[in-house]
């Protein structure tokens, strides 16, 4: 197990390198720069000398390959560089954003799983029924709404009209604040999970071993409990993992809308201000999250499915 984790972690390195390279290349040709973003408000004209010094300070005067090399060298020492904007180490900028982001992603996923999986299950147990059709329509509808639109709608209904929940913001200990953004974020994975679960259950219900179990005289509830659930879980786990893994990156719009201080809104702000080290850092974090979650999914597989060995 430990070996597996080490091996997988090592395998992440080329992926990460590729990601760093891609982002680096993209942002080396992007128009606009951190310097020009300083002038963006149209009022504080900074003098040329200060700007020149800034460039020098951040090594922006060096040629591209040198910058890339410096960056990779730093990365090898777990150093993500200095944020142009805040002039602090990038990690200090990212670190406080990490927990809110993870919290939002996990809550959204908990919502998605808690609603989506049972829905999919119930729909599949009566395929073709009105409930099934309705649920699946609902699921597809969930995938069809622009997130920010849904977010605004939730805000208007639950915060403004009903006054039940706060409309925005982040409170470290507060559950009430996370509900709306989590739902807005969770609806699409929820729909996806409902669909995957339904398909998985139908698949498993058609499997030969379920016929065997029927021939053994098991009652339907027992059959579902003892033979279907785990096998469905195996099928659903991949979707679950992929969703959790990509949720941090998908949260951008929702975080922006709800002023949620997560990685996604940091990324957008950093792109807007061309704070390249932070952009790099956040993308690395997002990708790492994805890779780590997927590794955990594989570990979970091994725990559930005896056919899979992680070594």
């Amino acid at each position: 197990m430990l070996r597996f984790i080490i091996r997988r972690s090592l395998q992440m390195i080329p992926t990460l390198l590729a990601v760093v390279l891609i982002i680096f290349v993209i942002f080396s040709v992007v128009p606009g720069s951190f310097i020009s973003s300083l002038m963006a408000e149209g009022r504080n004209v900074m003098n040329a000398e200060v700007l020149a010094h800034l460039n020098e300070q951040f090594g922006l005067d060096k040629p591209l390959p040198v910058r890339l090399w410096d960056y990779l060298w730093g990365l090898a020492h777990f150093d993500l560089g200095i944020s142009y904007r805040t002039r602090e180490p990038v990690w200090n900028v990212i670190e406080p954003r990490l927990w809110p982001s993870i919290k939002l992603a996990l809550t959204a996923m908990a919502f998605a799983a808690a609603v989506g999986i049972p829905l999919g299950f119930l729909a599949a147990l009566k395929p073709g029924s009105v409930f099934d059709t309705g649920t699946m329509m609902l699921a597809v509808s969930g995938l069809s709404v622009p997130e920010f639109w849904l977010g605004l709608l939730l805000m208007y209904v639950f915060a403004l009209q009903l006054g039940l929940l706060p409309s925005f913001g982040y409170q470290p200990g507060s559950i009430r604040h996370i509900i709306l953004p989590a739902i807005a974020l969770g609806v699409s994975p929820m729909a996806l999970l409902a669909r995957t679960t339904r398909a998985g259950v139908l698949d498993v219900m058609n499997a030969d071993f379920v016929r065997t179990a029927r021939a053994k005289g098991l009652s339907e509830p027992r059959l579902v409990r003892a033979h279907v659930t785990r096998n469905v879980l195996v099928l659903v786990l991949t979707t679950l993992g992929l969703q959790i893994g990509s949720l941090m990156g998908q949260a951008i719009v929702i975080e922006k809308l709800f002023s949620w201080p997560g990685i996604g809104s940091l990324l957008v702000d950093s792109v807007a201000t061309r704070d390249i080290p932070v952009v790099q850092g956040t993308v690395i974090v997002i990708v790492l999250w994805f890779l780590v979650i997927n590794m955990l999914v594989d570990v979970a597989y091994a725990a559930i499915d005896p056919r899979i060995k992680v070594t």
């Binding site: 200090n92 605004l152 201080p261 702000d269």
Partner: protein
């Protein structure tokens, strides 16, 4: 707002631009968003008085000016930093040295340029700034290089006084200022919680016990939060402005101010047609800006006459803006030989008041006089990049145009480079002459007369399409008092003067 202030309670304010706070060290950032927080924590030598519209002394109790008008001697107040240090002359000298230090590349360096010796210091020819002198612990002497009032520069929120003994690397996370509030908790990307600083040098202030500044860029979300009572003040966009002024429950608690920004479309003379004054004028005639201001900006702006805003002392009350007159525009275009075929693009951000929506509105209007306009949508950082590198045909932007009229008219002085603020490379000998004249005039009234002429000349020359002067609007909850109509930037408030009354809900007490 005339009752006697009450002490205590909490005020939840909102920083409305973009989402994040860059840094709690205000000297490290040039963004308004950060000023909103910095204003609570820090103090500068001068401060802007929104009521009088002038800089006034803040950290100094008195100043004496030498006869030549270039040496200022300040007697500092008895003020204490959040960490307990006392303010002394060395702090001022250290802070200004730090700001001017080219290696640190701080935005506030701009504000130091007026001080004698800064140029040498920045060029590396001197190891300290000769224009700064400590007389005694509480007295500091500053020499400047011109006759302008140094208050304009030294009131800048980006040029605060820091304690020289405080570790610099802590400034971003644990700021230590002279301001009325000190940091209690900072949730990056979300909010800043501040608490009353008991040793604030203005006695009896601040009134509030707590000040929360929430960060929220999305106007519709802010609207919901305000109506839901989650925030106490809301900087309004045009749509909310219209809605709030029509809402009986909200309309009595709205603060409006004419800010010192001029929104405009700048014409790049790189385009042959724009070299012709008639073309520029024609565009000004062809666009019904009153309608745009009414319909798109919901009257949250004042149609612009010329460059200087209405609040400017050099504004000509009798001047008339360009009328909406498409026929005249057509005529002018015909004269200039651009009856048809004039085509240009407008580089614009997505800003609702001076961005793409405005361009979208002028497209059909200009189409009617035979001018084809296309959009070149960009992000903020790219906009300034394109403008400063002369990579545009025209742009729509919002530029500072006050409060100091001379400073902002100088932007059209032919020797001002494009990457300073003469974005349209305006070059007019008559205008230059007037600016030279005004620069040498010491009598403010006469100076204003000259500048008024210059401003009118600018209107005639129309180097830009004069669109509007911003009207900033803030709505506040009924229990809030002490907000000021700050024409510089409405969102920057003197927090020490804000107080809340008994009608505030429990969560604010």
């Amino acid at each position: 707002q005339d009752a006697t202030p009450k002490d205590g309670g909490k005020f939840v304010f909102v920083a409305p631009y973009g989402n994040a706070i860059t840094s709690l060290d205000i000297t490290a950032t040039p963004h308004t968003q950060d000023e909103i927080v910095g204003k609570a924590i820090n103090r500068s030598l001068y401060k802007w008085n929104p009521e009088s519209g002038k800089p006034e002394l803040d950290l100094a109790e008195s100043v004496t000016v030498s006869d030549d008008g270039k040496t200022y001697t300040y007697k500092l107040k008895d003020a204490t930093f959040h960490n307990g240090d006392k303010l002394d002359a060395d702090d001022v000298i250290w802070s200004y040295n730090r700001l001017a230090d080219p290696k640190k590349a701080l935005p506030g360096a701009e504000q130091m340029l007026q001080i004698a010796g800064v140029a040498e210091y920045q060029a590396g020819k001197a190891d300290h700034i000769s224009g700064l002198k400590k007389i005694d612990d509480r007295t500091v002497e500053i020499t400047v290089i011109n006759l302008a009032n140094p208050g304009w520069n030294l009131m800048s929120n980006y040029a605060p006084i820091y304690s020289k003994d405080y570790p610099e690397d802590q400034l971003a996370s644990k700021p230590n200022g002279l301001g009325p509030f000190k940091l209690a908790n900072y949730v990056p990307g979300s909010k800043v919680e501040l608490v009353k600083f008991d040793n604030f040098f203005e006695k009896g202030k601040p009134h509030l016990d707590k000040l929360d500044i929430m960060l929220m860029g999305e106007a519709p979300a802010r609207d919901v939060a305000f109506r839901n009572g989650e925030i106490d003040a809301n900087v309004l966009g045009p749509v909310q402005y219209e809605a709030y002024t029509q809402d009986a429950a909200l309309k009595d608690h709205i603060l409006e101010v004419a800010e010192v920004y001029t929104r405009n479309i700048g014409f790049n003379p790189k385009i042959e047609a724009f070299k012709d004054k008639r073309v520029r004028q024609a565009i000004n005639y062809a666009i019904n800006k009153d309608l745009i201001v009414e319909k798109l900006l919901k009257n949250k702006a004042y149609p612009a006459v010329s460059w200087l805003p209405i609040s400017s002392p050099a504004f000509d009350k009798n001047a008339k803006p360009y009328a909406y007159d498409p026929e005249k525009a057509k005529e002018l275009l015909k004269e200039a030989g651009f009856e048809t075929g004039l085509k240009f693009s407008v580089t614009a951000t997505s800003n609702e008041s001076w961005g793409l929506p405005i361009v979208e509105a002028i497209i059909p209007m200009l189409a009617k006089v035979g001018v084809t306009v296309t959009t070149d949508p960009v992000e903020n950082s790219v906009l300034s990049d394109k403008i400063l590198s002369d990579n545009f045909e025209s742009f729509i932007w919002s530029n500072s145009s006050g409060p100091d009229p001379l400073k902002y008219l100088t932007c059209f002085y032919s020797k001002t480079p494009q990457n300073a603020c003469n974005y349209v490379k305006f070059n007019n000998a008559d205008f230059d002459k007037l600016i030279d004249q005004a620069g040498n005039e010491t009598d403010p009234a006469k100076q204003n007369d000259i500048l008024r002429q210059a401003n009118n000349l600018l209107e005639e020359e129309a180097p830009v399409w004069f669109f509007n002067y911003n009207k900033a609007v803030m709505a506040y909850q009924p229990w809030v008092h002490g907000l000021k109509p700050n024409a510089m930037e409405l969102a920057i408030q003197d927090y020490e003067d804000i107080w809340i009354d008994d009608s505030a809900p429990a969560s604010r007490k």
